[in-house]
């Protein structure tokens, strides 16, 4: 019931806002903020009730939906989905708070779109029926398409259509794979898919079909090109949701679908996946250095950081001696999870920072800025902190995930680890260089001197994000405790199917 209400409250609020229409600006804003806060509080209560030691999915609801095809409304969460749900419910109110300052046109539609998106995102993370999962997953394209297209920048139409077609193409292959699995097992429940009896060839094809969907979403190296466009053109809130949560769905999909269902396929292709991840980490990191648009730089840095997630998901499968190791597997998946959460916090903070600057000067070009800290000291300090955590400074959450994944890689192959760890240099290079040019240095033009320091509404989300990044960096243990049991079950499943 609790989980159901978390899923349904945002969409009811969005209906209300849609019916009230554009005449009630304040009221709409209040409804959106209030409902998203309620959802956040409810999700904290969910965390409180959650039993990390249970081996079952918790807060299950199971109802028949389309009986002819044995499709159920079947939801429930475990230690892998709960952190991502918390991330979603935490980020959405922050986006809604900031929408008041940076968004004027059709505010009610903007708020409604984000609330619908919240419902769909939580739905994705809590579906235990693959068909339901697909519906939430695919329906998300609609509000995101509208958000980028209506409230985006100059080149928004190109960007949003590209985003839509890329992700749509990816996910239809997943649909075929799901239908195929349905014929193999007679059910759409994900747990039944785990027991499907598939030959190696079938597993490879199903893995590739899933890879299309999740690889585009994460995004992985050759299919990443929609992301910089979408990020640059999206409004601040859109960029934040995109970076913080939508990208995480790809990683979640790997953990929930690809690895446990098509395990042998994953083992077979693990070398390929590792190469793609390393290309993303190193090459895309270098591409980020060359950017002169701040949002584009952060977008490329996102791809590079998400490369760590895919590395963590697949590196342990690539072991030269045939014995796959439970400990390494746990370590790598833990690393991937914590990297997702941490990237969700850091990248949304950076996008919010860029949004703050964009609202004032209406430019995202690095060369238009300089010496911002002299006029906006508070903001400058926060931005420097986020940049440092993006560069994986120890003590911030960015460090924990990358460190664990590199550690796990070392146990498999030193070369993979060494190549992955170059990101510590490259990442520091592009973020700190950007900060140097934007925040520090001399004031380049008179407009900078007119900048106003951030107000309370703008600083509140940034401070909250900074706190959580710091908390997660210094005390990651509660998060590990939350996840470890579910990850252990997942690892055992993967290892038993792989050997």
């Amino acid at each position: 019931m609790l989980l159901n209400s978390i899923i349904i409250i945002p969409i009811i609020a969005s209906l209300l806002i849609g019916l009230l229409g554009k005449d009630y600006l304040r009221l709409n804003y209040f409804i959106a903020l209030f409902s998203s806060l309620i959802v956040f509080l409810l999700s904290l209560y969910l965390l409180y009730l959650f039993d990390p030691l249970s081996t079952e999915y918790q807060f299950q609801t199971q109802m028949n939906w389309i009986t002819q095809f044995n499709i159920q409304y079947f939801i429930g969460i475990d230690g892998i989905s709960l952190p991502l749900i918390l991330l979603t419910t935490f980020i959405t109110p922050l986006v809604i708070i900031t929408s008041n300052t940076s968004q004027k046109k059709h505010l009610h539609q903007y708020l409604a779109a984000f609330l619908i998106l919240e419902t769909l995102m939580i739905g994705v993370f809590s579906s235990l029926d693959a068909f339901l999962f697909y519906i939430f997953w695919e329906a998300m394209l609609i509000p995101m398409f509208i958000i980028i297209g209506v409230w985006g920048g100059k080149n928004r139409i190109y960007a949003t259509v590209k985003f839509f077609l890329y992700t749509f193409l990816g996910s239809v292959f997943m649909l075929l794979a799901l239908i195929y699995l349905h014929f193999k097992t007679g059910s759409y429940a994900i747990n039944d898919f785990y027991n499907a009896n598939l030959s190696l060839n079938e597993q490879i094809i199903i893995f590739l079909a899933f890879l299309f969907a999740f690889g585009v979403k994460i995004p992985m190296w050759p299919v990443h090109t929609w992301l910089p466009d979408a990020h640059v053109e999206a409004p601040t809130g859109g960029s934040v949701i995109l970076a913080a949560i939508l990208l995480k769905m790809g990683g979640y999909g790997f953990l929930r679908f690809s690895l446990p269902i098509a395990t042998e396929g994953a083992v077979y292709l693990s070398g390929f996946m590792i190469v793609l991840s390393l290309v993303a980490i190193i090459y895309i990191g270098m591409v980020a250095i060359a950017q002169n648009d701040m949002k584009k730089l952060i977008a490329y840095s996102s791809i590079s950081h998400m490369g760590f997630v895919t590395l963590g998901c697949f590196v342990y499968l690539y072991s030269s001696n045939d014995s796959l190791n439970l400990e390494t597997t746990n370590l790598a998946i833990n690393g991937a999870m914590i990297q997702m959460i941490s990237h969700g916090l850091i990248s949304s903070a950076l996008f919010l920072c860029i949004g703050v600057m964009y609202d004032r000067l209406h430019t995202r070009k690095i060369s238009d800025y300089g010496g911002v800290i002299t006029v906006m000291p508070k903001f400058g300090a926060l931005m420097v902190f986020f940049a440092l955590s993006n560069a994986a400074l120890p003590g911030t959450s960015g460090f924990v995930g990358e460190f664990i994944i590199i550690l796990a890689s070392f146990k498999i192959n030193a070369w993979i680890a060494i190549m992955a760890s170059t990101t510590l240099v490259i990442g520091a290079f592009y973020t700190l260089w950007m900060v140097k040019r934007v925040i520090f240095g001399s004031v380049v033009n008179s407009k900078i001197n007119t900048l106003k320091e951030i107000n309370f509404i703008e600083s509140l989300p940034l401070c909250l994000l900074a706190l959580s990044i710091l908390a997660l960096g210094l005390f990651p243990n509660p998060l590990f405790d939350l996840m470890s049991n579910s990850i252990n079950i997942l690892s055992e499943l993967i290892l038993s199917k792989a050997s």
């Binding site: 389309i66 095809f69 519906i135 329906a139 609609i142 259509v161 292959f173 649909l175």
Partner: protein, 475 residues
């Protein structure tokens, strides 16, 4: 002919009488000026016909009139669907827009009669009778926009091509008669598979006739022209109901009679289906005239239906009918939205006319957005289930290549639907659309059908089970 047989023919009789009443009204001077009367009769006739079927719907499979008419649940189901949709269509037709509306409604009733005959004919000549009744009314409908050159051109093209297709069909029928000495479709149930070349040619000709009615690939050229040439109200009709007739035609001929030759015709349908899927959707990418665009999109949708049928098993036929039904709802909603936006002197013709719709008519824009995403096949809209159920059928029948082609084309097709959405939402209008005078019935129909795209999408179980039940008698 007994009374009980007459009772089974009640819907056709009622429609024919409705037509007579309309003609009478037209000739009585004092009644001519009442605008609403023809609409009322036009909507009441199918309604009465529909109600007359309630008592006979669960009738057992029956062949009446010396084997010329067959009554089964599928035929009755198709008829009920056609009547139901025709009530909506006649109510949604813009009353203010056309002065000759009573003639329009008259012709539409004629077409409905043709569809009814097609649904329950079991004799090749009766089938031909229904086919021609339908075809001739459609020519008239396309030509009804007399002021437009495009309309006359489209009607002329349609007429010439349609006559050729009817001729081919009739030739196929005569070949069948020559081969077997019978024109009753129930006699062909148990043909042996070793087929002569004459039979193959005959089947080929008959498929030509069917495919023409659907407007699928090599016989598609009338579709975009006639959509573009006609008004939105006429396009609303010709894009929806005749497809039910075409489905009935296909069902009676290929499933009911020549099913034993399915290995022969399924390949035909598969190739034509894939060709129209690719052709319709690719050409639609570059269209700006909105009805023309929807015409090409219809060709693509029909491709989907034909591919599904080519799997030629029970689930395949069911899923193709589900697809057809969903396609009709989506098309209906789209055209009604265009009708609502069209005012007396300004009709929505190109995509650019929709610019900035979100500012001037946010709710209509939302409904059109539902239609477009539903047509792409994005859940939770009902269009997704149409695509999904056909893909399920294809994978189930091990037609993985057809399924792969279908989904890739679906993604390509998404582009032109997205274009409509982006014109409505992302662009600013040069000349804002005026608040128009469309009536309340139209608007409420739009919102009911539009939101049903979403509601049916959330609860599709009932729709799927009702349509599958229609096939219970056959298998």
């Amino acid at each position: 002919m007994s009374i009980s047989e007459l009772k089974l023919l009640a819907p056709e009789i009622i429609i024919a009488s409705g037509i007579c009443v309309l003609v009478l009204i037209k000739s009585i001077h004092s009644l001519r000026s009442i605008n609403l009367l023809p609409v009322l009769i036009g909507a009441l006739t199918p309604l009465v016909a529909l109600l007359s079927m309630v008592s006979t719907f669960n009738n057992p499979y029956e062949i009446i009139l010396n084997g010329q008419v067959v009554i089964d649940t599928l035929g009755s189901g198709l008829k009920i669907t056609a009547y139901g949709f025709s009530i909506l269509i006649i109510l949604a037709t813009n009353i203010n827009q056309l002065n000759n509306k009573s003639e329009l409604i008259l012709i539409e009733l004629f077409a409905l009669l043709g569809i009814s005959i097609l649904c329950s004919a079991s004799n090749l000549l009766v089938i031909y009778l229904g086919l021609e009744t339908l075809a001739l009314s459609l020519y008239g409908l396309v030509a009804s926009n007399r002021k437009s050159v495009k309309s006359s051109e489209a009607a002329m093209k349609y007429f010439v091509l349609g006559s050729i297709a009817s001729g081919l069909f009739l030739y196929g029928v005569s070949l069948i008669y020559g081969l077997y000495g019978s024109i009753n479709i129930l006699d062909f149930n148990n043909l042996s598979v070793d087929t002569s070349i004459e039979l193959q040619i005959a089947i080929g000709f008959i498929i030509c006739g069917i495919v023409f009615k659907f407007g699928a690939f090599p016989f598609h050229s009338w579709v975009p022209d006639s959509y573009q040439g006609s008004t939105n109200s006429v396009a609303l009709f010709i894009s929806t109901l005749p497809k039910i007739g075409a489905f009935a035609l296909l069902y009676r001929l290929l499933i009911d009679s020549f099913y034993s030759l399915s290995s022969l015709w399924s390949l035909f349908l598969l190739i034509l289906g894939i060709a129209s899927l690719i052709f319709g959707n690719i050409v639609a990418l570059s269209q700006n005239q909105i009805r023309r665009l929807l015409g090409y999109s219809a060709i693509g949708h029909i491709g989907f239906i034909l591919i599904a049928i080519s799997a030629s098993n029970q689930i395949a036929i069911e899923s193709s009918l589900i697809y057809l039904f969903i396609y009709i709802i989506m098309t209906l909603a789209t055209f009604i939205a265009l009708e609502v936006l069209s005012s007396d002197n300004k009709s929505i013709d190109t995509i650019t006319d929709l610019k900035g719709l979100n500012n001037s008519h946010p709710w209509v824009a939302l409904m059109l957005l539902f239609c477009m995403f539903s047509m792409i096949g994005i859940p939770p809209f009902i269009g997704f289930y149409a695509k999904w159920i056909v893909l399920s059928t294809l994978l189930n029948s091990e037609m993985i290549y057809a399924a792969t082609i279908a989904i890739i084309i679906t993604v390509i097709a998404a582009y032109y639907y997205l274009r409509i959405v982006w014109y409505m939402y992302f662009e600013k209008s040069d000349i804002p659309l005026m608040k128009n005078t469309s009536n309340l019935i139209q608007k409420s129909l739009l919102f009911t059908i539009g939101s049903s795209l979403l509601l049916l999408g959330l609860f599709p179980e009932k729709l799927i089970s009702v349509i599958s039940q229609l096939f219970d008698q056959i298998y």
